[in-house]
Amino acid sequence: MSLNLKPNIESPDDFYQLLTDAQRDLSDEDANDMNARLVLILANQIGSLNDLQEAIEIAK
């Protein structure tokens, strides 16, 4: 397994707040749309198909 599942996000509470703040005033529909865009942006950052496949498996 090459996917990093150890804590890696710097300042987890800040990140979590960024994420929830960004969607605080959104309808579920708009928030879901944003999440889909976010998945794609982050997937591009990861790049490796193996890593993405692992991530998808874990998320299922």
């Binding site: 879901n32 749309d33 889909a36 865009r37 998945v39 794609l40 942006i41 591009n44």
Partner: protein
């Protein structure tokens, strides 16, 4: 409708076979006179094989149907002497634009590599293509096309197939040493043989409308997701010959094909797309749905399947006729060698191995395009929306937009006919790959490399001394850089990684079979043996 084209009516002639009442066995009978069957007739005849073509109709394809023809099939038709006319009549294009609503999301350029005789793509109505091939068949004494001949039943024996054929003069029996089923997606032959044809059906319907208009839209492929003029669906606009334009509207599964086909319902859709003030005439329309599936085995005894009869894909990506023609490219030299008794029947099983592999590659691409164009649930729809939104703003999302991945040849990388490389090579000319073209000079005149690869196996010697190799019927023609041709632009050397010297064994279908850095007659012989399923 169909004002720009006069349909030829080919004469029905009662055959000698039927008049005499004697059952005749023909070495090859081709069922279906469409692009694939006609290509098969021309390719087999080019190798000296007599063929009979049976077609249940007596004209060419009604409606433009297949539209986009890719480089590789055009190269095959060029080899068969009909490509030039198609390219001349067709519309050359290389730009595609993708829109979301009324905004352009991105543009793709096929960016064809320079230095090839044949363009990346042309658009041409299928009836022109068939007409040109029928004319070429009629000029060839080895080809006997029989119009209004419908195959009613088929029975297989050890070394032939027996078929009952219906003509306006009644029913008669005919035998085929080999029967090529080129009778399309709804192949009767496939049903008669009992072959399985499994895959995925898509619950969606599309309207194709061909219109004649004199408008200044460019010769580009325009694809809309969720356009303002056709909300919630997709649409396509593409230019063909004679000011005919192909329009394609996704309709959804609930649409009624009979209602949608009526001109009074089509015209408002067209108006909405092209504008109120553009004059046009409706030429032809059809409502279709599709499946992605393939036959279990390309060879069932003496019956060989090719084209849509062997595999059906969605239209996105122009993978139907283009793939079918490449089936024939692969099959015809093998069948000709088997018919002449030069190669074992096992060579024909490699037809299945190589072309089923290519079909699966096409099916995969086609299914993926279809899943993007017609998302199956809310989540897929959401991801597609995300891709299209992002593609507009950021470069990274653009390769995810899938409005059809255009047909390119599938290399037979794992084929048992290949000889594995002994060392390291650069570039694309890996064994199993279709040989690349390049501009050359032959006898002081400009020419093309692919035009040298005709008449069987070829040994291409680039900076390597190659001697003739005796391989019986498969003795390769030696084509040598410096004596057979010159490479002033250096593109042959570059594309074939020949700086340190290179020797290529090229199959009759212009695919790379093996390559070496130096000449060794035994190595060449054993590569030919491998490429012919042990014929030598």
């Amino acid at each position: 409708m169909l004002n720009t084209y006069d349909f030829p009516e080919f004469p029905y002639v009662q055959s000698e076979d039927q008049i005499s009442g004697q059952t005749v066995r023909h070495p090859v009978v081709i069922v279906g006179g469409g692009p694939v069957g006609l290509t098969a007739a021309l390719d087999l005849a080019a190798q000296g094989i007599k063929v009979v073509v049976l077609d249940d109709n007596n004209t060419v394809s009604v409606g433009s149907r297949a539209v986009c023809y890719a480089k590789r099939p055009l190269e095959i038709w060029d080899r068969l002497g009909v490509g030039e006319r198609m390219i001349e009549k067709g519309v050359d294009w290389k730009l595609g634009r993708v829109f979301l609503r009324d905004k352009e999301v991105y543009t793709f350029d096929l960016l064809p590599e320079d230095g090839h005789k044949i363009p990346a793509f042309i658009n041409l109505q299928q009836y022109y293509l068939e007409e040109y091939m029928v004319e070429a068949c009629d000029r060839n004494p080895l080809i006997d096309i029989r119009w209004k001949h419908k195959v009613l039943s088929l029975r297989q024996y050890d070394n032939y197939a027996e078929i009952a054929v219906e003509t306006p003069d009644g029913i008669f029996t005919l035998e085929a040493g080999w029967l090529l089923a080129c009778d399309g997606a709804n192949s009767d032959t496939r049903r008669m043989v009992g072959a399985e044809f499994a895959g995925q059906f898509f619950q969606d319907r599309f309207l194709i409308a061909d219109i004649v208009m004199k408008a200044d839209f460019p010769a580009e492929r325009w694809f809309w997701f969720d356009p303002d003029f056709h909300r919630g669906q997709s649409a396509l606009l593409h230019k063909q010959s004679d000011d005919v334009w192909r329009l394609d509207f996704q309709l959804g599964w609930d649409a009624d094909p009979e209602v949608e086909k009526r001109p009074e319902n089509i015209i408002p859709r067209v108006r909405a797309m092209i504008g109120e003030d553009v004059e046009f005439e409706l030429e032809w329309a059809s409502v279709y749905q599709f499946a992605c599936r393939r036959v279990d085995q390309f060879r069932h005894g003496r019956v060989l399947f090719a084209g849509d009869a062997a595999h059906q894909v969605s239209p996105f990506g122009a993978r139907g006729a283009n793939t079918g023609v490449q089936d024939i490219d692969n099959l015809s030299w093998k069948l000709a060698a088997v018919l002449r008794g030069e190669a074992p029947i096992a060579l024909l099983d490699t037809y299945h191995a190589e072309r089923a592999y290519a079909a699966d590659d096409n099916l995969l691409n086609s299914t993926r395009s279809t899943d993007f164009i017609t998302p199956k649930n809310g989540a897929s729809k959401r991801f597609r929306k995300a891709v299209l939104d992002l593609a507009n703003k950021t470069e990274f999302a653009r390769p995810l937009v899938n409005s059809g991945r255009l047909s390119t040849p599938t290399p037979y990388l794992d084929s048992a006919l290949n000889t594995a490389d002994g060392g390291a090579w650069k570039g694309r000319m890996t064994p199993g790959t279709c040989a690349s073209d390049a501009p050359i000079v032959v006898g002081g005149k400009d020419g093309w490399l692919l035009d040298q690869f005709t008449g069987g196996f070829v040994l291409l010697a680039l900076g390597v001394e190659a001697e003739p190799v005796d391989a019986g019927a498969f003795t390769p023609k030696v084509v040598t850089l410096g004596s057979s041709f010159d490479d002033p632009k250096g593109l042959v050397s570059e594309r074939y990684d020949a700086e340190e010297g290179a020797l290529y064994l090229i199959r009759p279908d212009q695919h790379i079979s093996a390559r070496w850095r130096r000449f060794d007659a035994d190595a060449v012989k054993s590569a030919i043996s491998k490429a012919t399923a042990g014929a030598i």
